[in-house]
């Protein structure tokens, strides 16, 4: 009885914590879903590139004392350039346009990045401590750590920026045109290869931001990205491949599922919710919550 | 042999095929014609089990095969070809045809012998060891035909096997189809090449906007005002009459 009461009492806190994390999940998934929506490829290197962004933020802090939240200013553009180049002169050329090949090339990329990280950064877990790391925000029924709250709002803000980019700018219009009708876009003079690479770049830039936002409240090691791979895929499939709104909603759902699942089932079994949701969605509703019916 | 009644299918709001009925008699060559987007391929896909009809029934040799899986229908003796050719790209012509031949035997030697015989029948003997993705358009169309034939069907559904061929190639394939009919295989074909329709078919059905608008012998069809009406916008009526009389 007592246990159940305690569970119930901790539930609101678990939900709010889940939402906090969910926003960052959403950001990670946003990059993945954008890339899928436009290029129709599944970027298996997503986790590894996120890990790379976290290391970037980590070393910027360690060597130059740059606050991770401020580091976004450097990491995001760098991520964009990296993503653009990776696609334009790597993935796009090597995969010969075949679905499975892209999966394999990005898997190869993930292996290379992960092990290069072991080589250069060692396999040790790294964390950072900021002057305000232990500050909290009191919501009345729950104390939240300040970095988490900042990350939450920053994630939402970046999602909003991305939405503006896609819906209001010329680049965004071109991206949407290519997503809808490749051949048509080519005919009206859009440089499709450039748009593909730019989309991949934007997707990776999302990871750059997510990496910076994660670092204050999460450890980084060469395998950190793996934790997020299945999570991000689940969100994308749940929300509907290619759907931006879906990624946001999916991120929150998965964030809450994970933290509530962890509360009820315990740390290790709690993780099962994600793979279960992933399997069920793929089987029962592969278009996801917000995906277009094909 | 094949009896279709009240067959309908819509995609979203669009009725691709509505309430179509028709019969294919054994031993004949029957044509299905109609302007682009009339619903011909959709009809074939439903008959061969690739699409589930919204309503209606398909009877093959007095057996209700509505909603049956394509491979079952193939085993029963009806096989379709694809308008957009679907070769097993990385396999050779021989291996492609053997997949069809395996429908009737699990013995490799037998399947290979059958495949070689059929390749000869459709005039593909020279390209047996060529990879399917290196074949010309005409070669691919022939391969579609050969693979289907290798399953030893009693009813063969051919979806525009002459599209994209030059006049000589068309004459060749018309010849091949006639010979197939002469071996006792019933042929039901979709075709835009009117000369071939006139020349080949014993009977024809006309589809327009998913509706069956006419049927009859090729000459009757060519003079049917509804058919001419349906084709007029597409500028085919004139061609049809001219070609028809040229063949008469």
């Amino acid at each position: 009885m007592l246990d159940e009461f305690m569970l119930l009492g901790m539930m609101p806190a678990a939900v709010v914590n889940g939402l906090m994390f969910g926003a960052i999940y959403a950001l990670v998934a946003l990059g993945l879903t954008l890339i899928y929506g436009v290029l129709h490829i599944i970027n298996f290197a997503h986790g590894a590139l996120l890990m790379l962004a976290m290391y970037a933020a980590f070393y910027l802090f360690r060597h130059f004392g740059i606050d991770p939240y401020f580091a976004i200013v450097f990491v995001v553009p760098a991520s964009f350039v990296l993503g653009y180049a990776l696609y334009r002169w790597g993935i796009g050329k090597l995969a010969h346009g075949k679905d499975e090949n892209i999966l394999l090339v990005t898997l190869g990329l993930a292996i290379v990045i992960e092990n290069a990280a072991i080589f250069f950064f060692t396999a040790d877990q790294q964390t950072i401590t900021l002057s305000y790391s232990y500050d909290t925000v009191d919501l009345g029924f729950v104390f939240l750590s300040l970095p988490k709250v900042i990350s939450f709002f920053a994630s939402l803000f970046i999602c909003l920026l991305l939405w503006l980019l896609i819906s209001k700018t010329d680049l965004g219009r071109a991206i949407r045109a290519v997503a809808k009708e490749r051949q048509g876009a080519r005919l009206v003079g859009i440089d499709v290869e450039h748009i593909f690479a730019a989309t991949y770049g934007i997707g990776i830039a999302c990871l750059g931001a997510a990496g910076c936002l994660l670092l204050p409240s999460f450890y980084v090691d060469p395998f950190t990205g793996n934790i997020f791979v299945l999570v991000a895929f689940t969100i994308v499939v749940l929300g509907g491949m290619g759907s931006i709104v879906g990624a946001l909603v999916g991120g929150f759902i998965i964030g809450v599922t994970e933290s509530v699942g962890g509360l009820i089932l315990g740390e290790s079994l709690g993780q099962i919710g994600i793979s279960l949701i992933f399997i069920l969605i793929l089987v029962l509703r592969p278009t996801g919550l917000f995906g277009a019916k094909s | 042999m094949l009896e279709i009644t009240g067959l309908s299918k819509s995609f979203g709001g669009l009725a691709a095929v509505s309430n179509v009925g028709l019969t294919v008699e054994e031993g004949k060559i029957i044509s299905l014609i109609g302007p682009n987007g009339a619903g011909k391929t959709t009809l074939f896909a439903m008959v061969a089990g690739f699409l589930k009809p919204d309503s209606g029934t398909v009877m093959f040799e007095d057996q209700n095969i509505t909603g049956m899986k394509p491979h079952r229908i193939c085993e029963l003796g009806m096989v379709r070809t694809f308008q957009v050719t679907q070769p097993f790209a990385k396999l050779t012509t021989l291996e492609n045809i053997m997949v069809g031949a395996y429908c009737r035997t699990s013995n490799r030697e037998l399947a290979e012998a059958n495949a070689r015989r059929i390749a000869k029948q459709v005039g593909m003997k020279a390209s047996l060891d060529q990879a399917a993705d290196s074949l010309t358009v005409a070669g691919r169309k022939r391969l579609e035909l050969a693979r289907a034939l290798a399953t030893q069907p009693r009813l063969l559904l051919l979806d525009e096997v002459m599209a994209g061929l030059n006049p000589i190639e068309i004459d060749e394939i018309v010849d091949v189809i006639k010979k197939i009919r002469d071996t006792g295989v019933t042929v039901f074909l979709i075709e835009h090449v009117m000369k071939a329709v006139m020349n080949l078919s014993d009977y024809a059905y006309v589809l327009n906007d998913g509706v069956r608008i006419a049927d009859g012998t090729p000459t009757e069809i060519a003079n049917n005002p509804d058919v001419i009406e349906a084709y007029l916008g597409h500028g085919a009526a004139e061609r049809m009459r001219v070609e028809g009389s040229a063949n008469a």
């Binding site: 993930a110 399997i279 | 429908c103």
Partner: protein
């Protein structure tokens, strides 16, 4: 043509004789051990190859069969006292059953391409978490296996014993692939890989063929699981269901040559050689994996038919030259 065929047969025979003699020729336990691992990888790779290479269904969770088999025979021995030489058949059955389960769920609902790859990954993760959380798998602590060298335990007091067991398994896997290349079933799988719709039009029951393929892959993976536990004497959830083994399975196959009889063997030999060389001369963690990743990218980009394809092309050229 005929002479080429019989020459290939002779080559295979010579290879087998050489493989049988190796423990006599090479009196070095380290090399025997490495070769054993090569054979083991080749066997696991062949399990992946049947589903991924021949039937064209790429999985990212091939390890799930291996893990299931490994747990099956270990638990059969620990809880029921069934010796592993019988337990391995339990492992084979468990692997095949897992194949049937995953196959039914995935193929029933028409999952293909990347979706199939991802759902297998999710299943592996799912079972890893389960194995980590329940009692009878030993949970996160894992299972320690007693070492009592004897044939009934499939344990040996010298490396040559394991080598011969791995060789036997590999030869069986090669025979399975050889049978695939000559049978109707194999032709159906390849047709499904190339174009599933066209295959169905020609009378191929795609669902059933894919189910058989995943069950065979599962059975082989299960057998590999028993071999692993009896050799390494320890099993825990990351070993049983970790993505590393899944990647290794597809890696050796793709590097060697997808959908070919000897692809996994060639790939396993090359990759393990690279690994050993890297370990000996470079002594840097992760470095050989970096090379693996680059090789994978390179093969996909430039040698879609793998190393075997390279060899084949030359052979074809030679055959063409003979005709002219």
């Amino acid at each position: 043509m005929k002479s080429l065929k019989s020459r290939n047969g002779l080559l295979c025979l010579a290879g087998l004789v050489l493989a049988l003699l190796i423990p006599q020729i090479i009196d070095n336990n380290f090399y025997i051990d490495v070769l054993t691992l090569v054979l083991f990888s080749a066997f696991l790779g062949q399990s992946w190859n049947i589903l991924g290479g021949y039937a064209g269904q790429f999985s990212f969770g091939g390890v799930v069969f291996f893990g299931t088999g490994a747990y099956a025979s270990s638990i059969l021995f620990r809880s029921f006292g069934i010796d592993p030489w019988i337990g391995i058949f339990g492992a084979i059955a468990a692997g095949a059953a897992m194949g049937a389960f995953i196959g039914f769920i995935s193929f029933r609902y028409g999952l293909k391409g990347s979706y199939f790859a991802l759902i297998t990954l999710a299943f592996a993760e799912f079972f890893r978490i389960i194995a980590n959380s329940v009692e009878f798998t030993g949970g996160g602590v894992g299972i320690f296996i007693d070492y009592n060298p004897s044939l009934t335990q499939l344990q040996f007091d010298n490396p040559a014993g394991y080598y011969y067991l791995a060789l036997l398994m590999t030869v069986i896997s090669l025979l399975i692939a050889w049978w695939l290349e000559r049978s109707r079933f194999g032709a159906s799988l390849v047709a499904i890989r190339e174009n599933e719709e066209a295959a169905e039009a020609l009378g191929v029951n795609a669902f059933r063929c894919k189910m058989y393929a995943i069950c065979i892959a599962g059975a082989m993976g299960g057998a590999a699981g028993t071999f692993y536990t009896q050799k390494f004497l320890y099993l825990d959830p990351p070993i049983a269901y970790g993505i590393g083994t899944s990647v290794e399975m597809l890696l050796v196959t793709i590097v060697g040559g997808l959908g070919t009889i000897f692809g996994p063997l060639v790939g396993a030999f090359v990759l393990h050689s690279i690994n050993e060389v890297a370990r000996h001369y470079l002594e840097a963690p992760g470095l050989s994996m970096i090379v693996y990743g680059l090789i994978l990218i390179g093969i996909v980009g430039f040698l879609p038919n793998g190393l075997i394809g390279l060899f084949r092309r030359r052979q074809k050229k030679m055959a063409g030259g003979d005709d002219a």
